[in-house]
Symmetry: C2
Subunit: 245 residues, 2 copies
Amino acid sequence: MPPDAVGTAGAVAVLPLPGMPEVRPGDDLGDLLCRAIDASGVALVDGDVLVVTQKIVSKAEGRLVPVDPDDPAAKAALVEAEAVRVIRRRGDLVITETRQGFVCANSGVDLSNVEEGWAALLPVDADRSARAIRAAVGHRYGIEIGVIVSDTFGRAWRRGVTDIAIGCAGVAAVVDLRGTLDANGRELQATEVCAADEIASAADLVMGKDRNVPAAVVRGVPSSWLRPSSVAAEIIRPPAEDLFR
Amino acid sequence: MPPDAVGTAGAVAVLPLPGMPEVRPGDDLGDLLCRAIDASGVALVDGDVLVVTQKIVSKAEGRLVPVDPDDPAAKAALVEAEAVRVIRRRGDLVITETRQGFVCANSGVDLSNVEEGWAALLPVDADRSARAIRAAVGHRYGIEIGVIVSDTFGRAWRRGVTDIAIGCAGVAAVVDLRGTLDANGRELQATEVCAADEIASAADLVMGKDRNVPAAVVRGVPSSWLRPSSVAAEIIRPPAEDLFR
């Protein structure tokens, strides 16, 4: 049995990929991920989902801007520039809708885990980022995988942040269970499951914000969730359907 | 190596517990879970987190009420009775604050996976439910585990439902990383992680809404997350701090 196998039928394994070097603008992220995969001893297989944190995607794509950490107005200007709309504001906290359509704190502008004096912005198109990683890693090992670019968002009504998907490729963003029957033969009420967000949250169990593990493999998700065409942008609730903006 | 082991350092395994019988009011849920654990071949160990869906907790606790599925007004009355406040309403969709303080659709009243003519209500106190399961299962095997009662909630801004924690015992609801430093020695911005919600989402990867697996074991979460006193009620954002109700 390989060291990363889970023998129980139907089980899912979440495998950390430590040992990534500090990622710099222009780095070939697919290549760096393959090196980390090789070093980890995790032999990728068809159907694995590779979860990569937004931070290293943004760094590789050069989405870094200088900011004076002691100047709140400088950060506020960055947040404003990345937003198309301010949803709520209270004190230092600003909830915005980003250019990409996400609703999150500070337009996703983040000063953690970047060098002093710099801020990381969200990738311009994290679905495109996910597709590029999927192509590079899938090609290297000759397999079909899913890729999720994850980020850490707060929520309405509930304390604490969780990891969610801001980009995806090869794996369903939202799984539609409409028409599926429950154990009693009745149609399910909760019909759309955000598979990508659940996978991103599972990956965070081995990554953490304080452990310097920027990628993980989630193995054993239902094969029906793997599909070529999904994009995380599907997760964004159209503003006209949204009751909270 | 036991069949449910994960060999990779730092890995997390999510192990389904299938084979639960239909749960009925008055059933000893701790005992039923132990039988499912024994039948699954998963040997529970210290630090495992047992995730149990709200549906079987509600059934065991007799939180079932008769409802005519063809009478929308009857269900609406149930939803109203379980709510302390209506947050938003559009057509059939009602977002309420429940007696327990949760903000969710239809006050958590659910007609899926219950017998025709009945609706399941949320447990009165899912933290208490989690503590009872933790005591029963921990006592049976002589180990210290965490227990999460999970439910399926929608979110603002994002399509699709995900599983979250409505009750917990022995495992942190919210992990506080305040004062923790990132890889560059700077204090983390996202300071509170909702560990319990991430674990509930991970568990849903093996349970699904259509697979009739009402419980799972999550193995390998950081030991610092295991603690005797946590309650999911900590996850509820105090209304005064909440920008979206």
